[in-house]
C-alpha cells in the first residue's frame, strides 16, 4: 500500500491562523483542504511537508452566497460537487457549474474544493509519477532534477495548468479573496497564475483562498467544454471557458480562456478582440475559434500527442462558443475537415 510520509497535523480556528501557521515555516508547511491533489503528491513524494494545516473545516470558507453588486461568492472550501449542483451557480453562471462538475470523478468532487482546484498543481507525465519512477528517469526540473525532460533544452518547466475551474473563473472575471496572517487581499483570478510550471501561483504560499467572487451581471452567458479520453476521472486534454455578453446579435464582450495548453490558463486575446463588437453568427464563431487556437502550444507531456491536442483546441473553443449562446443557422461551406 502506498502510504503518506510522516507529518504533523494542525487545525487552525480561522483562515488567518492557518496562514500564520504556514508562514511560520513556509518551506515545510502545506495547506490541506480536500486533499485530492495534495495527498497523492505526498504519497509519491512529489511534495514534502513536515506540517499540514487543515482548512477544510473552517466555516469562513464554506457556503455559496450573494456577494456585492450581484456577484456570487463561493467559499474556498466549498466542494466541487456542491458547486456543480448549486442552484444559483447553475442558473447564473452555468459555465462555472459545468467546469466544477467536470473535474475528475464523482468521489473526488465530493472532497476536492473550489480553492483547491484554483490552486491545483501543474501536471506533466514526467512529474506525476512515483518516487522510484522519477528517480529511475533521472528526476525532472520541477522536482529534484536539473533538466526539463519534455524539453531538455529548456531552462523552464513546462508542466501544464490543468484546472477546469480556473479558466472559467478568469473568463468570468472572478476575483479571489486571499487571507494572510495580517488580513485579506483581493486578486483577480487572472493574476493568480504565472506562466511557469514550477512557480505557477502568484499567491504567497501561506495565503488561503477564502472565497471566489464571480460577477454575475444579468444576461451573462458562459460555458465550459472539456476534452478528455474518458467520460470521467481524467484531467483536460484541452478545455475552453467562454463568457459572453450579447446585445441582441451584437457581441458586447467575449472572453475565452483555455485550459491545458500551457503552464497557466491561457486567455485567447486575439480571439476576444476579434469577437468584440461583431455579430454573433456562424462565421464569427468559426473565426473566433480559429484565432483562439492559435497561441496554444501543447507539448508531449500530457495525454494524447501534441499533434492531436493542438488540433483539438479549436474544436473545444468552437463547442464552448456554441454552448454559451445558440448560433443562428447560416450556410457556411467547408467547415468540416480534420485540419
Amino acid at each position: 500500500m502506498l502510504r503518506l510520509p510522516r507529518f504533523s497535523y494542525r487545525r487552525p480556528a480561522s483562515a488567518r491562523e492557518a496562514a500564520a501557521m504556514v508562514a511560520e515555516d513556509p518551506e515545510q508547511t502545506l495547506l490541506l483542504a480536500g486533499g485530492t491533489d495534495l495527498l497523492p503528491k505526498l504519497k509519491r513524494r512529489q511534495l514534502a511537508a513536515r506540517v499540514l494545516v487543515d482548512v477544510r473545516h473552517l466555516a469562513e470558507l464554506a457556503g455559496i452566497r450573494p456577494g456585492p453588486a450581484g456577484a456570487v461568492e463561493v467559499g474556498g472550501g466549498v466542494t466541487l460537487a456542491a458547486a456543480a449542483g448549486d442552484r444559483t451557480l447553475v442558473g447564473a453562471l452555468p459555465g462555472y457549474a459545468t467546469a466544477a462538475g467536470q473535474v475528475s470523478s464523482p468521489p473526488l468532487r465530493e472532497a476536492g474544493t473550489i480553492g483547491g482546484n484554483l490552486c491545483v498543481d501543474t501536471r506533466c507525465n514526467y512529474y506525476d509519477m512515483g518516487e522510484e519512477w522519477r528517480r529511475a528517469i533521472g528526476y525532472c526540473l520541477k522536482k529534484d532534477g536539473v533538466q526539463c525532460l519534455v524539453a531538455p533544452g529548456s531552462s523552464r518547466c513546462w508542466a501544464v495548468s490543468s484546472s477546469d475551474t480556473a479558466p472559467m473563473a478568469i473568463a468570468l472575471q472572478g476575483v479571489v479573496v486571499l487571507v494572510g496572517p495580517d488580513g485579506e487581499r483581493e486578486l483577480p483570478v487572472a493574476d493568480l497564475y504565472r506562466d511557469d510550471g514550477i512557480d505557477y501561483l502568484a499567491k504567497r504560499p501561506h495565503e488561503v483562498v477564502a472565497r471566489l467572487r464571480l460577477p454575475a451581471p444579468p444576461g451573462r452567458r458562459s460555458a465550459y467544454v472539456k476534452l478528455r479520453r474518458r467520460g470521467s476521472i481524467d484531467f483536460p486534454i484541452a478545455g475552453a471557458a467562454v463568457a459572453l455578453d450579447l446585445d441582441g446579435p451584437a457581441i458586447v464582450s467575449a472572453r475565452i480562456v483555455l485550459s491545458a495548453v500551457g503552464s497557466s490558463p491561457v486567455e485567447a486575446v486575439a480571439a476576444e478582440a476579434f469577437l468584440t463588437g461583431r455579430r454573433w453568427d456562424e462565421e464569427t464563431v468559426l473565426e473566433g475559434a480559429r484565432l483562439a487556437a492559435g497561441p496554444a502550444k501543447p507539448l508531449d507531456n500530457a495525454d494524447g500527442s501534441h499533434f492531436w491536442r493542438k488540433r483539438m483546441v479549436r474544436v473545444v473553443v468552437e463547442q464552448a462558443l456554441r454552448a454559451a449562446a445558440p448560433v443562428p443557422a447560416v450556410s457556411v461551406a467547408g467547415t468540416a475537415g480534420a485540419t
Binding site: R6, F7, S8, Y9, T36, K43, D54, H57, P107
Partner: protein, 178 residues
C-alpha cells in the same frame, strides 16, 4: 500499525463513528482512513487498488456521501458518520442494493463491489429514481475490470425500481450460499 518505528511520527487517538459504533484507534496522523479502517479496526471489506484516488475501490460513505478513504485523514472525519461495506446490511438482512447486486450477477471478482455499492447507496438516497445515464455518471469514479458495468448499472436500477414499487422479495437470496 503502531509499533517501535512508526511512533516517531505524531500519533493520536482518533474516535470514529463507524457503522453506527463509536470506535477509537491509536494511529499516526499520517495514516489514512483506509489504513485505519483496514489495519486498526479490522474492516477489510474496504478495498484498495491504487491509494491515489484513481480507482474508487476504497470508497466509503462519510455522512452519506462517497469519499475515497485513501485520501481522507481520520482526524478530518472524527464526529462524522462513516459507513463501510460491513455496515450496509442490517444484521443478516442485505441492503436492497446488495440483494440486487447478487441477483443480477453484478459481482464477479467482487473487488470493486464495496465501493460500487456504497456509491450507489448514496445515489439512491439523493435520487431514488435515477435514469441509466445518471447511474453511470454516479459510478464513473469507480473502476471495474470484470463486468463492463452492465450488470452493476442493471442492479442499481433494479434496486431503485423495487424501492419505488415496493416489490422487495422476502427471504434469502435464491440459491446463493452465504
Amino acid at each position: 500499525m503502531v509499533n517501535e518505528t512508526a511512533t516517531a511520527g505524531e500519533v493520536r487517538v482518533v474516535r470514529l463513528r463507524v457503522n453506527g459504533e463509536l470506535r477509537s484507534a491509536l494511529a499516526p496522523v499520517h495514516a489514512t482512513l483506509l489504513e485505519v479502517l483496514r489495519e486498526q479496526l479490522g474492516l477489510t471489506g474496504t478495498k484498495h487498488g491504487c491509494e491515489l484516488g484513481e480507482c474508487g475501490a476504497c470508497t466509503v460513505l462519510v455522512d452519506g456521501r462517497p469519499q475515497l478513504s485513501c485520501l481522507a485523514l481520520p482526524v478530518q472525519v472524527e464526529g462524522r458518520e462513516i459507513t463501510t461495506i460491513e455496515g450496509m446490511a442490517v444484521g443478516p438482512d442485505l441492503h436492497p442494493l446488495q440483494r440486487s447486486f447478487v441477483e443480477t450477477g453484478a459481482v464477479q471478482c467482487g473487488y470493486c463491489t464495496p465501493g460500487m455499492l456504497l456509491t450507489a447507496a448514496a445515489l439512491l438516497e439523493e435520487q431514488p429514481h435515477p435514469s441509466r445515464a445518471e447511474v453511470e455518471a454516479a459510478l464513473a469514479g469507480n473502476l471495474c475490470r470484470c463486468t463492463g458495468y452492465v450488470k452493476i448499472v442493471d442492479a442499481v436500477l433494479l434496486a431503485a425500481d423495487r424501492a419505488g414499487t415496493g416489490r422487495m422479495p422476502d427471504g434469502p437470496v435464491d440459491g446463493a450460499g452465504a
